[in-house]
Structures are given as C-alpha cells and as structure tokens.
C-alpha cells in the first residue's frame, strides 16, 4: 500500500495513562502519528480524546507512561477560545509577544485572504471567522504538530470546507502533522490519512487509513453461517448478519463481501470495545 516502511513519528505515546478527577480518563495508550500525516481522533463522548490532546500539548501531565512530540506542538482547544475583547490585530500581537517563533506576516496574509478584518473584536466575528483566527494563531507559531479539538463543531458547511482547505494547504506546503478530533466521520473521510480510535479511555485502533480499510472486509450473509467466524463485530436482524472481519478471505457464495468505508470500520470497532487493531511493538514500522 501507500504507507512507507518506516516513518518518523511526530507524536508518540507509550503506556500513557492520565487520571482526571480520580478516574482514569486514558489508560495504557501507546500510539504514534508519523510526520506529515493528518490523523483523525475519533470515539464516543468521554472516550478520552480531549485528555489525549491535552497530554500531547503539555496541558496535562501523564500519571503513567510518556508522551513526546518531536518539535513544537500548537493547540486549538474546543470552542476555539479567544480573548473576546481583543481585536484580531491584538490577538496577533498577543501571539507575537508570547512566542519565540512567530510568522506574523503569514498570519496577516492568511487573514487577509479569508477576509477577516484585523480591527474587529474577536467576540464579534462569526463562528467560522473565530475558527480561522484560532487556527491562524496556532499556525503562526510554525508548529510541527497541530492539535485541534473538534475544529469543525458548530461550523456551517462552507466554514468547515474553508477550515479544512487552510489545514490541508499547510500540510501540503510544509509537511505539518495534524491530530484532529471529530465525531462526524464524514468530515474526515477525504482529509485524514491516519486513524486513531479511542473508546472508554482505551486505544482501539491506530494506523494508516488505507491499510486499515484494505485489511478489513464487510461480510453480509445468513446468520447461521456466521457461527464460529472470528469477527471484529457483528450486527444483524433475525437470519441475516453483517460482519466486519479482518484480513482477506473467501467465504463462498453465501456471503457477499466488500471493503468497508471509514464509517463502517470505525462503527465496527466502537461496537465491540474489546477488539483492537494496533501496530505491533515496533510502533509505526510494518
């Protein structure tokens, strides 16, 4: 497949465990995201997505294990917090004065293209413009890893498209690595090439999306024939069953088989929290 044999990880966690309010929000999480990848972080509410992101950017200290970022990490938190009384220009000034590396010219140019007025107060911008300003502030730090918590939530379709165009342009332009969470998988299908699935504080899936899709099959056939088949998860009504299975096997004419799409793959794993598709101890090396 398209994945190279070995890629340099920009984000790497080993045995990461984080406790929040006495309960484990994240347990025994070992994953890596290679350079230049756009990684989708998905999972139900409370799965530990935000916790993983906060740990990645250093806002939460691990209680167990390690988390490391090669280079600098920038973060856009959920709801894209900005100082609402600051004008956009003042927010850029804030960034310039609180950072050692700062691409103010690039940030101004980007906002100019997007039509965000520098003199307007952040609190009076539209949701899409606020998202663009928050992302511009993060990108102006010229990070190696950009972490975005639900960047598309509460945005209209046009704003979602614009945000993604900005991000993808940056990935193509200078090999930025992105980790972004969402619970709308349709938003991620064309933009992400790496998948991380968290469920109940545990890591379920981590890997290249093309490899994962090529490594699974969606079977559909008679329920009684499903007995004894090793499946990631199975759904069905009465005599008919649909199974998500790993690998590539021929099962005879009673089964219709096809490749799952990203949504089906993710749902298949989320349905059975004990199943996992993780790379071996060698990390991203395959």
């Amino acid at each position: 497949m398209s994945a190279p044999i070995l890629e340099v990880p920009v984000l790497e966690t080993t045995g990461l465990g984080v406790r929040r309010r006495r309960a484990w929000a994240l347990r025994d999480c070992s994953l890596s995201v290679p350079a230049g990848r756009v990684a989708a972080l998905v999972g139900p509410n409370g799965a530990g997505k935000t916790t993983l992101m906060l740990a990645a950017v250093g806002l939460l200290a691990p209680d167990r294990g390690h988390v490391s970022v090669r280079g600098t990490a920038a973060f856009v938190a959920q709801d894209k917090p900005l100082y609402e009384s600051f004008t956009v220009g003042e927010l850029l000034e804030f960034g310039r004065r609180t950072n050692t590396r700062w691409d103010g010219e690039g940030a101004r140019a980007r906002l100019d293209v997007l039509g965000v007025p520098l003199g307007r107060r952040a609190g009076r911008l539209s949701g899409g413009q606020q998202a663009q300003v928050a992302i511009t502030l993060a990108l102006a730090r010229t990070p190696d890893l950009l972490v975005l918590d639900e960047p598309l939530a509460n945005l209209d379709p046009l704003a979602r498209h614009d945000v993604m165009r900005t991000l993808m342009g940056e990935v193509a332009g200078r090999g930025l690595t992105v980790l972004l969470s969402s619970h709308v998988i349709a938003d991620l299908e064309d933009t992400c090439d790496w998948l991380v699935v968290l469920n109940g504080g545990r890591l379920q899936v981590s890997g290249d999306i093309d490899d994962l899709l090529a490594g699974h099959l969606l079977l559909s056939g008679p329920a009684e024939a499903a007995e004894g088949l090793e499946a990631v998860s199975a759904t069905g009504t009465g005599r008919h069953a649909t199974l998500l299975v790993r690998g590539d096997r021929a099962l005879g004419p009673r089964w219709s088989t096809r490749r799952p799409n990203l949504d089906e793959l993710v749902m298949g794993y989320l349905r059975s929290p004990q199943a996992a598709a993780l790379p071996g101890p060698a990390g991203v090396a395959r």
Partner: protein
C-alpha cells in the same frame, strides 16, 4: 507578557486609577475649602497648634466638614479591598478557566510559570501602588481637620486607611481573589468567596490587632476618660481599694439615667472614687502606630505570599 497583562487588565487598571483620581480631587477640594474656612477666622495663622486653633466654633465647623467626607470613606477600608479582590483577583484565573482561554494562554512559548509570575507581579505591584496612593492622599487630607487632635491610631477604620495598611489589604484581597479563581474555575463564585473571605479576615484582624503588643495600663482616679483621644482602648475595669479588679462594684448605689443625661452615672463614678476605688484602663498609646502598621502589613503580606504559592501550585498541577 507585560503588554499582554496591560491589554487584558487595562479596564481594571484604568477604572481603579480613575477612582483614585476622583477621590483625590474630592479630598483636595474638601481640604482646600476647610483651610479657607479656618483662615477666614484666623487670617494671620493659627496661634494654638490645633487644626481648629482652639476655637469651639471652628472645631464644630471642621467637624461637620470632616464628617461629611468621612461618611463616604468610612466604609472604604472594607469595601475597597473587597472590590479589588472581586474585580482584580477573582477574574485573573477564574475568567481564563471559565472562557477556556487558559488553554490558549498556556500553550504558547511563554511557560505557565512565567505567565503567572508576570501577572501576579505586575498586577500585585499595581495594587500595592494604588493602596499606597490612597494612604498618601488620606494622610495629607486628614490633618487639615484633625491636626493636634489625633493621628488616626485610635480609630481602627482610619488606621486602615493610612500608612501601609491599605496597600497590604489590597494585595491580600488580590491574592485571595486569584486563589478563589483556581478553586471554582469561574469568576462569579470566586468573587463571592473573596468578598466573604476579605470581610472575615478583616473582622478577625480587627479583633486580633489589640494583641499586636502587650497593652499599657493606666490607673485613673477622679476620671474615667484617658487623657489621650488617640490612644486605642483595649479594656477597662474598676479596682477596689485593696487593688482587686471588680466588674460590678457594689459600694455605691447606681441610679438609671433617663434620656441623654449622664448625671446619675457620673454621680456613681464620683461616689466610687470617693470610696477609694480607681478605674484601670488598658490601652495602646499612639506611638505604636508604625509598629501596628507593620505588624498588620506583615501578617497580610505573608498571607498573600501563601495564597500566591497555593495559586501557583493549583495552576501548575491542573493546567488543562
């Protein structure tokens, strides 16, 4: 970071500065008017060394003028620290957490430790400067009315408006507000807590301040009034001829005064003095002004340092 601090908190800084300017103008106007009132009576200057130059009429006139302003600033020792705590301290971290902007502020290159140090340092410094300015203005204004009468030691309200006390109180309230913000991670409850906390601290310290030094004791005979209006009274008791303290001497019959008259109480006191009783007063003489000022400031500054340390600990432990 200093620009960031200024930009984020300029509303508080400007409002407080504006308030101090207004107060300054009020005190200046009041003092100027009082001076011209006195010089209307004594055009060649004061012969007696008192603000009222020994004239009863002038004393009454000055007293009315003083009271008019005092009704305004009488509540300031309590209200100003509470306002500083609520509007400078509580939002410092409470608002960052509430709006989620702490995740913006603390993921830039500036380390959280430095972010907090600059904020506490710059704003704490501004608060101390504001408190000192208030104290200076009150100290310049008050003698116009009270020179030769008292220095502001005996009245605990005035005591907390002069010297270093206002600065120490403001700093303490600011630090307490900052800490309250980390407890609730929201501004409004932090404001409520800091107002309650400052009030509780104030009444505790007011009660405690009598014990900043062992009080002096004076045994009075023939009068129950200490000959120093500026002394701070701690306690008083009757002493019988054998030298024992008695709370309620029974040697003389005590009649009940009616209305505003105190004739029967005075008669009772005279009777007791005639029987050989004495009146023992414990008090702090006004020379202890600075000792008490520094003791109170020391307690408050130490408490502020502790609160700042606790704030830093909570912030650094739970950044997310």
């Amino acid at each position: 970071m200093i620009w960031v601090t200024w930009r984020q908190h300029r509303a508080q800084l400007l409002t407080t500065a504006g308030f101090l300017v207004l107060l300054g103008l009020l005190l200046l106007g009041s003092a100027t008017e009082a001076r011209s009132y006195v010089s209307g009576y004594f055009p060649d200057g004061c012969p007696a060394g008192f603000a009222h130059c020994g004239s009863v009429e002038v004393a009454v006139g000055l007293g009315e003028r003083y009271d008019a302003v005092y009704t305004l600033f009488g509540w300031m020792p309590l209200v100003l620290p509470a306002l500083i705590g609520a509007f400078w301290g509580a939002p410092l971290l409470g608002r960052e957490y509430e709006r989620g902007t702490h995740r913006l502020a603390w993921t830039q290159s500036v380390p959280v430790r430095r972010w907090l140090a600059v904020k506490l340092g710059v704003l704490g410094g501004a608060v101390v400067a504001g408190g000192l300015l208030l104290s200076l203005m009150v100290s310049l204004w008050r003698p116009v009315f009270r020179e030769g009468i008292d220095s502001g030691f005996g009245n605990i309200g005035v005591f907390n408006m002069t010297g270093v006390a206002p600065a120490a109180w403001w700093l303490y309230a600011f630090a307490a507000g900052g800490f309250a913000g980390t407890l609730f991670r929201r501004t409004l409850p932090a404001m409520a807590l800091v107002v309650a906390g400052v009030a509780a601290t104030m009444f505790t310290l007011f009660a405690l301040s009598d014990h900043y030094a062992p009080p002096d004791r004076a045994v009075l005979s023939g009068t129950v009034v200490l000959d120093d209006p500026d002394a701070r009274l701690v306690g008083a008791t009757w002493v019988d001829p054998s030298g024992r303290a008695v709370d309620d001497p029974a040697a003389c019959e005590r009649g009940l005064d009616t209305g505003r008259s105190s004739a029967k109480a005075e008669a009772w006191q005279d009777c007791l003095f005639a029987e050989g009783y004495a009146y023992a007063v414990t008090y702090h003489p006004p020379e202890r002004f600075w000792r008490f000022q520094w003791t109170e400031a020391g307690i408050l500054v130490a408490a502020s340092a502790l609160l700042c340390a606790l704030t830093a600990r909570r912030v650094l432990r739970r950044r997310g």
